[in-house]
Symmetry: C3
Subunit: 307 residues, 3 copies
């Protein structure tokens, strides 16, 4: 199968087969990162622009390492140093970047839909590294890779996503991806954090975490964002931890082979207890390792072939 | 012809032949950026320091991409992370950088003349990427390259530069370059923005844009800077657009083969109307593309030969 | 001799032989930086993360240049863009980085002991690029290299370190290193800047710089930090310069072959007079040049062999 997409913008626009190809490619590229010489010449002479309008350690670092292990040339632009501060429109910034012939632009932006707009404007491949509360497709892909690696499949699994669903691009991309690959997704969180109508994405919703995780193969905890507290979505960290945090005690009702996931960065003692984050069911750091592999796979599939 | 300069500090210090050699070299390096593998080994093992005391997306990105396409190693220093904040003098920072044996230092600085001082202090090549209101030689060179590419020559052309001439290092470098290469330069803008005595650089000045562009082969619009408004150089964006903005209507009196240029970032609807910026006469994005080629040429001529 | 350490955290944990091996390696790698092609393939395919929680031009630039001249891939993380701002613990940030399989993490941090904690958490090599007021081992190593290069040895030399000893990680690492290599260290400065009990590190202390430097082979001036003035450790720059600054006049009593050192950035006219900093005894810029060589040596010894 040949990968025909120009861009990776969201999970919706990828077929089951395309997702399968990305995950298979990531599986096979993963071992490069454990070699003594972690580098292959695949993307030599390709220019990859990292354009991050929101700060991010792990996603930017993961993409940069992925690009460099494939021998790509990287250039990094952050919001603070960009012409945006001089009042240029994003469309003009995009056209200007385009004129310098980059092969890929990796964009993180606080406004939903920005990568889609960029992709229409430029011939370069555009990879969405997170846009507002909309999508974070490489996170969903690395999550699928991690589950498939451990469980052998996604089809037929019960996956619980817990926390602030309403404001999470990670949740949104994962709900779409998991259901597309045949898993059942249950959402759980305080009513203020579960958006109305979320069932249209194919997921069910409930409000009691202990009940929700009873038959889960996977429990994915979402990061609680402090700024949400200020908007009264929950009364305090302590209250949140008590009702929706994942602790050893909560986990008592879970399956013996459950996997605990979290997109990071974690708030220890808020949405996840330290003993759970560091415990035997946790695959949180495998997610991070797979992030590099998935991003290598995407760069390889978008830029590696003859064009 | 061999290129003998150590530094590129301004257009004044380049001869017609040297400018011609830079432009010829840029013409021939340009196609590298449209190859599948955009990389040649010319500057392998050269250390190029990007030292930007003012933020800049396009110039820094353009230089970084140029260096990487020639296989140079780049290190980036910005004002905020530099020892300058610890009270070190620029001369000491320069000597320290020098001790690490960089091959080139690319400097942008808010104070005019800083690159010249740096060039006297260090053995490394120094490239001026914009110093205060003084000079921006690589911008002038990419502008000359763009015109030559489209018109076949600079000699004998009528070039109008419109806007805030007084505060523009782009204007200053271009006036010097264009006249050196045999073009006639006319300046137009509000009287508050045309410096007295500018004629000594070999350009004429006037105050009515419609009149000025009648026999122009090239119209270069300058960016209007909001901070100038606060100093009362013009009453409002709207007023400025009305009297000095380039619109389809203003253009009606221009030649059929006129070229519209702008150093960017553009203010749509202020100094240039969107339909003009995006229209058939505009070569604004070609300027950006040629920026990479000119910077590759300069790095190649300064560092590429045996030294 | 084989280098067996995983990390470079401080000078205390290095043996005389290990220090000797680092300095010998640095001596032999130094000439790479004066070649026309300043690059060897030793660290090709190694991922080196620069993680700087305090800003630093010279140390970060020196490490980046060192890594690139050995063909390593570098990724840079600064405090402002890191997840730390999202409340993640450093331990979690470390584990996340680790999951991306870097070969080395170079850490600067304002809190003493942070690199040691990081080193226990990750399999990657950790290099301390300065932690609080605790240690700066690569600075001490480049200082030792510079002295050895000029004097042929460290053993038996008289070394004066002058200034704010109490708050200087450079002083602390150097006292340990110099005495370990057989030199005698004398400290001099205002009583408020000499910590009680410093003699336990093997150095003597006094309060009159003219007296102290009489039989010194090396005088190392420390940077005076303005923020100390605010905490009343000294009354004013002028007072400090008068009593503890190194001037041509103070130097009159020094040996004919004395070497003047300073870790930079220097405050001209405060702790060191311009004519001394730029004078014939000064090796300040050699220190900077040797910084690149020492960091190349450390990266080579930690990552270059088979693991």
């Amino acid at each position: 199968m040949k990968f025909e997409k120009k861009d990776i913008l969201d999970i919706e626009s990828l077929s089951r087969d395309e997702i399968g190809l990305i995950l298979d490619t990531a599986d096979s590229l993963k071992e490069i990162s454990s070699r003594a010489i972690k580098k292959v010449p695949t993307l030599r002479g390709k220019t990859i622009v990292h354009f991050f309008h929101e700060s991010s350690t792990r996603t930017r670092t993961s993409f940069e390492i992925a690009a460099k292990r494939l021998s790509g040339d990287t250039v990094s632009i952050s919001a603070s140093t960009s012409s945006i501060v001089k009042g240029e429109t994003l469309a003009d910034t995009a056209r200007n970047l385009e004129a310098m012939n980059p092969d890929a632009i990796i964009l993180r932006h606080k406004a939903a839909g920005t990568p889609h707009m960029l992709a229409r404007l430029v011939k370069s491949s555009v990879i969405n590294a997170g846009d507002g509360m909309h999508a974070h497709p490489t996170q969903a892909l690395l999550d699928m890779m991690t589950i498939r690696e451990r469980k052998g499949r996604l089809d037929g699994l019960n996956i619980v996503i817990a926390g602030d669903i309403a404001h999470s691009r990670v949740a949104r991309s994962n709900i779409v991806g998991f259901t597309k690959m045949g898993a059942r997704v249950s959402l759980v969180g305080p009513p203020t954090m579960i958006p109305q109508g979320i069932e249209t994405l194919g997921a069910s919703a409930s409000y009691d975490i202990k009940e929700a995780i009873g038959d889960a193969d996977i429990i994915m905890m979402l990061r609680i964002q402090k700024e949400r507290q200020e908007s009264f979505l929950f009364p305090s960290d302590r209250e949140y931890a008590r009702y929706f945090g994942l602790t050893a005690e909560t986990l008592a009702t879970a399956k013996d082979d459950v996997l605990i996931m979290h997109p990071g960065p974690i708030n220890r003692g808020v949405e996840i207890a330290p003993e759970v984050a560091d415990g035997p069911y946790s695959v949180i750091l495998e997610q991070v390792a797979n992030g590099v592999a998935v991003r290598m796979a995407i760069l390889y599939l978008l830029l590696g072939g003859p064009r």
